[in-house]
Point group: C2
Chain length 968, copies 2
Amino acid sequence: MIKNKRLSAMNKPKDELVYVDKKGQRVELYSPTEMPEAGGFLWNKYMMVQFNCRGYAVGQFMQPEPSKYAYAPNLEAKTFMQPEHAYYANHPGRFFYIKDDDTGEVFSAPFEPTKTSLDYFCFSAGQNDIKWRIEALNIEVTIMVTLSDSDAIEMWELNVTNLDNKVRNISIYPYFTIGYMSWMNQSADFFPELNAIIATCISPYQKVEEYFARHNLKEKTFFIADTVPTSWCCNQKVFEGNSDVSFPDGIKAYALKQINSLYEVPAAVMQYQQCFQPEQRMNYRFLFGPASNDQQVSEIKNRYFGKTLCFDQEKNNYQHYVMQSSGPIKIDTGDNILDQFVNHWLPRQVFYLGDVNRLTTDPQTRNYLQDNLGMSYIAPNTARQAFITALSQQYQTGEMPDGILIHPDASLKYINQVPHTDHCLWLPICIQAYLNETNDLALLDQLVGFADNPNKQTVKQHIELALDWLIGARDERGLSYIAQGDWCDPMNMVGYKGRGVSTWLTLASAYAINTWIDICNDYQIEINSKYRAFAIQLNQAVNTHCWGGEWYSRGITDDNVSFGVADDKEGRIFLNPQSWAILSGAASTEQKGKLLAQIKQQLDTPFGTMMLAPSYTKMREDVGRVTQKFSGTAENGSIYNHAAIFYAYSLFKIGEGDKAFEVMRKMLPDDDFIQRGQLPTFIPNYYRGAYYQHPRTAGRSSQLFNTGTVSWFYRCVIECIAGLVGHKGDLLIKPQLPTHWPKLSVNRKFNGSIFEVEITKSKQVSQQTIQVNGSYITSNRITNIVAGKNYLVKVLIPAQSELIIIMGVSGCGKSTIAKQVSQQYNYKYIEADDFHSKDSIEMMAKGIPLTDVQRGPWIDKICACLQKEFMKDNGCVLAYSGLRAEHREKFRQLGFVTRFVFLDVDEKQISKRLKARNSHFFKADLLASQFVALQRPKGELDVYQIDANQPQASVLGQIVTHLKKGDA
Amino acid sequence: MIKNKRLSAMNKPKDELVYVDKKGQRVELYSPTEMPEAGGFLWNKYMMVQFNCRGYAVGQFMQPEPSKYAYAPNLEAKTFMQPEHAYYANHPGRFFYIKDDDTGEVFSAPFEPTKTSLDYFCFSAGQNDIKWRIEALNIEVTIMVTLSDSDAIEMWELNVTNLDNKVRNISIYPYFTIGYMSWMNQSADFFPELNAIIATCISPYQKVEEYFARHNLKEKTFFIADTVPTSWCCNQKVFEGNSDVSFPDGIKAYALKQINSLYEVPAAVMQYQQCFQPEQRMNYRFLFGPASNDQQVSEIKNRYFGKTLCFDQEKNNYQHYVMQSSGPIKIDTGDNILDQFVNHWLPRQVFYLGDVNRLTTDPQTRNYLQDNLGMSYIAPNTARQAFITALSQQYQTGEMPDGILIHPDASLKYINQVPHTDHCLWLPICIQAYLNETNDLALLDQLVGFADNPNKQTVKQHIELALDWLIGARDERGLSYIAQGDWCDPMNMVGYKGRGVSTWLTLASAYAINTWIDICNDYQIEINSKYRAFAIQLNQAVNTHCWGGEWYSRGITDDNVSFGVADDKEGRIFLNPQSWAILSGAASTEQKGKLLAQIKQQLDTPFGTMMLAPSYTKMREDVGRVTQKFSGTAENGSIYNHAAIFYAYSLFKIGEGDKAFEVMRKMLPDDDFIQRGQLPTFIPNYYRGAYYQHPRTAGRSSQLFNTGTVSWFYRCVIECIAGLVGHKGDLLIKPQLPTHWPKLSVNRKFNGSIFEVEITKSKQVSQQTIQVNGSYITSNRITNIVAGKNYLVKVLIPAQSELIIIMGVSGCGKSTIAKQVSQQYNYKYIEADDFHSKDSIEMMAKGIPLTDVQRGPWIDKICACLQKEFMKDNGCVLAYSGLRAEHREKFRQLGFVTRFVFLDVDEKQISKRLKARNSHFFKADLLASQFVALQRPKGELDVYQIDANQPQASVLGQIVTHLKKGDA
């Protein structure tokens, strides 16, 4: 009984591993072992923590450089989280040991370090907190952590309930690791007057001038409790004793040894020995974070624990902070994972990046600009200020620096010390999105100075200087120099000698110029006609030097070698030049067709589109550092989502909405949670690629949530899928719904008004119609928007019936699958075999294969049948062998939106299957001939190929998922 | 039976925790838990590894910068070992799991990671290998690791023996951790053709120029086996599974999963499933280290495993390498720990430092010079070359750089980028030791260039330039500017504004000048008389400005504040200025007496002499970084052995051999192994100090074996204790034996000859007599030494009878203790109470205390008795209350070498004890009066005070130990 009461908060749905709540407030995981790296992150302006579902944590706070308050057990290098961050026994974490003092049994919550098998486990990532609910030994433990909004402080709540009917003695031990703080000075002690453990360190430094820069550093770590503990320990070695963290001597003993840490690894452990009545629940609260001195710790204690409600007030403050991430769009597509992501988690991630600038003091210029592209939708004033900050650090030559200093004490570090060439082009691109959303034309006339000259010029002039710099930095062929990297910064040796060029950069420059021309045209800004000429020149140069016949190369090296071309065994094709050739207008219709086919064939995977393939396995000295990254990780052929979203955006621009949607949908884990290992609360910078090289690891999430992907993802949702684009203060309506969506409901805030938009596919219309507040409008533009007004917008778009063709040789299971799919979609099921002539049936029964001539009339009969269904607006599922490419093409001409599913089977396996099947007229002997006749689909973008040697249930599952996502 | 056979190699002596073998080849530890941080180090020219007794390891190899081949589980900062290095569950280590496949029982050798309780454990540090012998589950495991002498390779041998009488199936799993190699690229796989696991990484870098500097980096880690494994695993996560390293899933399973590592944390695990006959023994060999490529791994495999004996040959080669550390002196004192240390472990540590220059590419100048002071005894040619290398980097101004670049690609790093002021003075000091040993006068005429001028000058000129620079860098008071540090480099804020001065530096400059004058006098080199004047000036300046009345200050700050003075609450007294005032001749006899008393009182501890006291607990901004180190660690008041050995050396110079010996002897752990936590195979840079502030941790070893201490320790043994000093090619004989040594046997190599020296204390002589090969010589100088000749030298030195006085109030146990001590030394036992007059006895029986007047005749009677014993050359032990200081002084005048032991007791406790004692004439009522009469010894250097409230056995043990060490 009591259990049911408790379950109300975090309630496990039956048989699910992951649950996405319908309000977008929580995503829950019900196993601590299936996705051991999964977690959730919280942040504020001062800090970031990624809480792993098992109790580990990776965090940093800013002062102003990134610092730690919970350290590794050794002297760790200073870094952000590592991609696919490795956890290990003594990794920093926040743990709660629970001991039944009567029996000596122990478990730990959330899971580490004891890893005891639990009766119930729920990790629940919320928008502004992380929660766990655990049950073991008939004890329920709920844990909540949130942050302060005004300081680097973790706020913890722990509830422990005796679920038993008897009185029990239970010891509760919060164990917050502090770790190896410093070899110079580290110590810790318990301060009874503060009810806190305070650890102190002085981190090593050498030069005397560094001393003065360290005056206000927070080098203390505090752990404050609201309840006086029975005992405590501050010394990791003493606590672990001769055991280790999985079952420390300190937990084995009746009471913790009250030992301080004197230049020993500090730890924060407290013990609460408590007699629990049946069903009694005890509550504890803790604060964990950095401070400068004990006085500060005392102030913090008073602020959070001083009065009854102040802890809750601080919790609310943080909730309000995170609520600022609320964005201008809410969608309802029926795809819950997508909806909750777009409506809640996506703007949260965009806001995180933009509001705290990735918690660095010198964000890369390209990241800073693109993060603020995203912020244009959420906090346009922040974006505006960021664009001005960035431009104020531009050089008079037009060149943008590699990083933007956003703190007075900051300096350019790491990659920002290596010269890159793409920063300028992000200016018009990102500012366009801002102008679309805000119509803030005044920005372009705003006066801004330069890094090397305080004399101010307008933003417009700044942008044109940037474009001029790009135009100038080209070789005699008209291609853009890459120097030590473009957007792909580890591509550092293509042009380090000063001659190598980048196809992508040339195309992106053309796109940037075109974007600027569009902006100027929109706002009737006078623009030098040279820009249009240059854009054409750039595209022409690429078509002359970088088109390989089937796709664009990635560039030409210092030594005049084209790479990313068919002759390359590794790095044969790169995604970015293809996407941007579409965006820039360089690619002709024919080129687009070719390159899309190549992307499909070489780069597409079930987990998304790879950035390049095959990924490099060894150093290529004329390409550079990217080839030294591990195959399938990061820029070396992972599904690098930032590149993939560029690709999706380009697809929308040419009306390939289905394909674009597919690319986007694959950025979210769904039925492949275990392989990806991540919850759908953020888009990571990459999923492992090298799909054909390293299938074991393909799809694995990097778990890194710093990525420019999300700004573009948000833009694609708003401007492309929903198609509700701002334009000079008007709202344009040009949605691109995936074929399998019958409708889309959108709530869009724009220009101070709210637009309730219902987009419905209808067979009643042959072109888009729009009703605004009951009246039809003639264009797709809502004008004269009055701020504060609500608009009800009903959009009808022509519906197209769908034809799904399940193809494959006899015995592959196509009929069974087709029947099931037809039921799923409520489509008509058509069996191609039903249309064979008597003669053909007899022939086949004798084991004589059909000829193409004999197949002709058969295909015609099927087509005639389908034609009738099309006229009746019926969707159809056709089970059909589909051996010949020319016949497949015929079906594509019927008017349907056509999608093929190719059940690919092994000859031996099918033969076995056919022998077991007697009723069918087709002889197993004919099989060989079918395999001969089969023209395997190649470059047919609407064909989804699946290994049908697997169990049928699995095959069906995959097909349904892929059809749902818009997979061809 | 079989057990006894096995025990022959490493045989546990009864009831010992630590055993030091008499040949100086091995030191053994018989518990894996009592001294968990204890270990031993091996090194060669390319690498260093500290093997912890439990199986953890800290290592680095040079290419040329320090690099790793076994990494932490996270991205670790680049450092040498940390002081008191912290170990944790996933710390790099070399482990062997042993599983009984029939029962599933598992243990690991040497101890980690399972920490299973073992039937036998022996960690055995050898000169050129480390061994373990373990028994559990009736299985014996012996492990041996040594290094290659020609490359960075660990060579491992594993023997497993079934001690049972039955056939058993046993799985053996070597697990060599590789760890988190890089976030850029890391992977591992098993190569059947090499029978090896090879892990590959590319460590992160950013700039293109760095790429080219990385071409020949060894970024692969190999683990090669001589025997084909049953299975293997290269993936740490897969190996550990849902468990952790203490009992990985991989060990639980029947066979290891053969999974590679694809951008996952690599590991090297192999499994040998083996059926063991009764008593069967299996042998395995492994190689572990870094390589550039697979080809290199293959070559290594062939070289070490290719032919039958090549592994053994390589082992021998390494043994020969380490044997080069053999030094010019062997002593036999009967103190086994000391003898083995001096004869074997000390020269090994000196050689380690000097031969590989601490495995850095830019040793600090002061370290480099002092390390080569030590090398002057072992490899004088190396020392010579080092002095020349150092001088070639001197500036024309005479200034020495902060670090010496010993590799063409090296640059000055860390502390070497902060200006220090003491480097110059080490030149004459270190070169003097070299000249003493070699008589290589030619060095002084050798021509050497400068860092900023290729024009060469003689070494003599270089040295004088260095002295001139020192003389010049002084203020108007004549005191030496400290800038950002002197020998104490973290004392960086005394003079960073350019005005602060160092007492120590001024004194050390004087000593350096005097040393140079001595050298010139010895060799009749003309020397400008200004030097003598400057030396006097320097000493005078110190006496004028830095003498505080009881001791010397440490310096005067930029703001003209003296520190290290009586008014300071922290950093009240520093050891170095006192020692060097003795060396430089600044301290008068009276001053010496005063400062020695202060050292005794404020700095002396059972673990050695602290560098300063009380240690700082907070930043003192006019002293600097030293005050920010944790109290009692490193330069902030630890027993910093380098400073302590300076003190010992200074004590020898004034004939305080007993005190000097005490300081030295405390540098070696002995009966306090557990508190120090270190084996007596090396001297660490420090033992924890802050003896009165943090008694829990005082005495704990830093475990760091990089310290200039050892060169000086060696010098003190050779030149002071044995007193066999080279001088212009002659050998001077001036030993300073501690009082409690009756004799000393020395084998001394000098000038190509061997001197067998027997130094014996004799009451037959009143001054030193020397027989060389049977003939008496008249001076203490052996001249005309013929190389290759053996000299038998018999030295007699006057013996002095010893008087040990055990003092304390009645009931403190002095009679019992005195009797036992007298037996120990075969001294006469004298009971003071036996000399009381009848009257006095009656008074006391009535409870009336004696007056000083009454005590007078009593003391006289005792003295008369002692006088007689002294004339008979008898040593005596006197049990005597010793209440009055004046009476104690009387006993000191008798001619004996006198030492007091003060049994300090608590009034309450003693009262209890006395009440239980009936036979004694002394009434418990008199006790209070005794406490009133007691003048507690204060500043009496020959009094050893001990807390006698402890059990008597423990008190006796401590007294015996301290008397043995020469403790006053």
